[in-house]
Symmetry: C2
Subunit: 267 residues, 2 copies
């Protein structure tokens, strides 16, 4: 399915409108007194707050009015089947653990998916006022009314690369070992920034992100932004990233390949 | 040495002026194309940039004009001995590793020390526009022209506590093991936010920070802010924190004690 210019404009506008509404909800609760979280996980700590829920409700309200035939996949309220071929993939608060400790590294993630890889995505950080958006060959950072083109940076070898991840908090022992093979080769590794790490790849500040255990709504927004900024996002086998799981994102294709080889040493 | 009301006002104004000047320098270089870092460490990676240096130069220029008899301890240019009894302790960019990857979790740290613990300190994050300042019984967050009182939160037991640290990036094996004894008891641990973690304690969003290998200029600003907000900052033995080293910061004295016991299991 290809979108004509008018459809692309509509998609771009709707994505921004969803992020505006979700971000406004989230900011109402960010650092608010008495914000509590429920734990969604039986084994660990997977918090959800009233911010996550109300932001996704706001997104769904807009879509039901403006795009009633579109499908929705949202972290908090699951799948709504559509008939238009357009599917909105939404994580109202990516990085809820950052959100509940007051750190400005969570984000609102929105992507438009027409059946395969996302064609448009955004990462919005309402507290810093940054919106990273990419799709249809455009990638931009919007902040305080100014727009900057997003472009990944060149990085030809791992020993000059900056790597980010949410590890050591997430991942199995095997996944951690694979990650550490890359970590041991790069110049600098930084931890714990959730979706903000992907934004920094698109911004040309970070070279690699390696994560595991992601859901489709965790990666489709970031994936579209990075791809539009010239980067590469796949799973750890080099296959499609949009279903989540183990993710490798890189600004420069050369270190994407180098990291893939370290993640899969036997192949 | 006790400061009268006029001296306190002067100290408060000078601290803010130093942060204004340093922050302006830093923002000029933050995310700028072509920013490079030099490595100050023989063993590892301890980056310094033109932002660190020019921000400290700006601070020293102001002090040489306004407070020529004061002493200075700065990360980049060392100690300037004074005669007034006032010593300004400055880290122009705490979290240079965050700075060079474009993440907004670094900060400008300023403290005023009259010979022992700091009496006034601030943590400034110029990109988010947040200034956390504390001393003389006042603790405030300034942002966008609004002022909010800072107050640590109550947290009576470790199993409901949020812990932050720069580990696993810093620390010896023994230090990591001690840290992990606390980590294994808390509700949530988050990594890698440098001085921003201390700001979140003062803001009542985070309960504990545990770090090692700090210098006096890394801790005196945060220490003054947290103490003015009602929290407690010591070394891992419960002694003075202002010389740096191994640091334990807590919002609630109850979990400060509980964490101390885990850091020193034999005592």
């Amino acid at each position: 399915m290809n979108l004509n210019e008018a459809d692309r404009l509509t998609a771009w506008k709707i994505a921004n409108r969803l992020a505006d509404a979700a971000g406004e909800c989230c900011l109402r609760y960010f650092r608010s007194a008495g914000l509590t979280s429920d734990n969604k996980s039986a084994e660990g700590f997977d918090p959800v707050t009233v911010a996550d829920r109300s932001a996704e409700e706001a997104v769904r309200r807009i879509l039901s009015q403006e795009r009633p035939s579109d499908g929705i996949l949202g972290e908090e309220y699951g799948t709504t089947v559509g008939s238009s071929g357009w599917n909105w993939v939404v994580d109202p608060v990516d990085g809820t653990r950052a959100f509940i400790i007051g750190a400005p590294t969570w984000g609102v993630l929105v992507a438009l998916n027409l059946g395969d890889a996302p064609v448009l995505g955004l990462i919005d950080q309402p507290f810093t006022g940054e919106r990273f958006i990419g799709g249809f060959g455009r990638a931009e950072l919007h902040r305080d009314g100014s727009v900057t083109a997003l472009r990944v940076r060149n990085c030809s070898s791992l020993d000059s690369a900056v790597l980010m991840t949410t590890f050591p908090e997430v991942g199995t022992a095997d996944e951690r070992a694979a990650f550490e093979r890359v970590r041991d080769r790069v110049k600098l590794t930084r931890y714990g920034m959730d979706c903000y790490a992907y934004a920094l790849v698109a911004l040309g500040q970070v070279d690699l992100v390696i994560e595991a255990g992601l859901k489709p709504y965790d990666i489709q927004g970031p994936q579209a932004v990075i791809e539009a900024a010239g980067g590469r996002v796949t799973d750890w086998q080099g296959g499609p990233a949009h279903n989540g799981g183990r993710i490798l994102a890189a600004g420069d294709p050369a270190i994407h390949s180098a990291a893939l080889r370290l993640l899969n040493p036997g192949t």
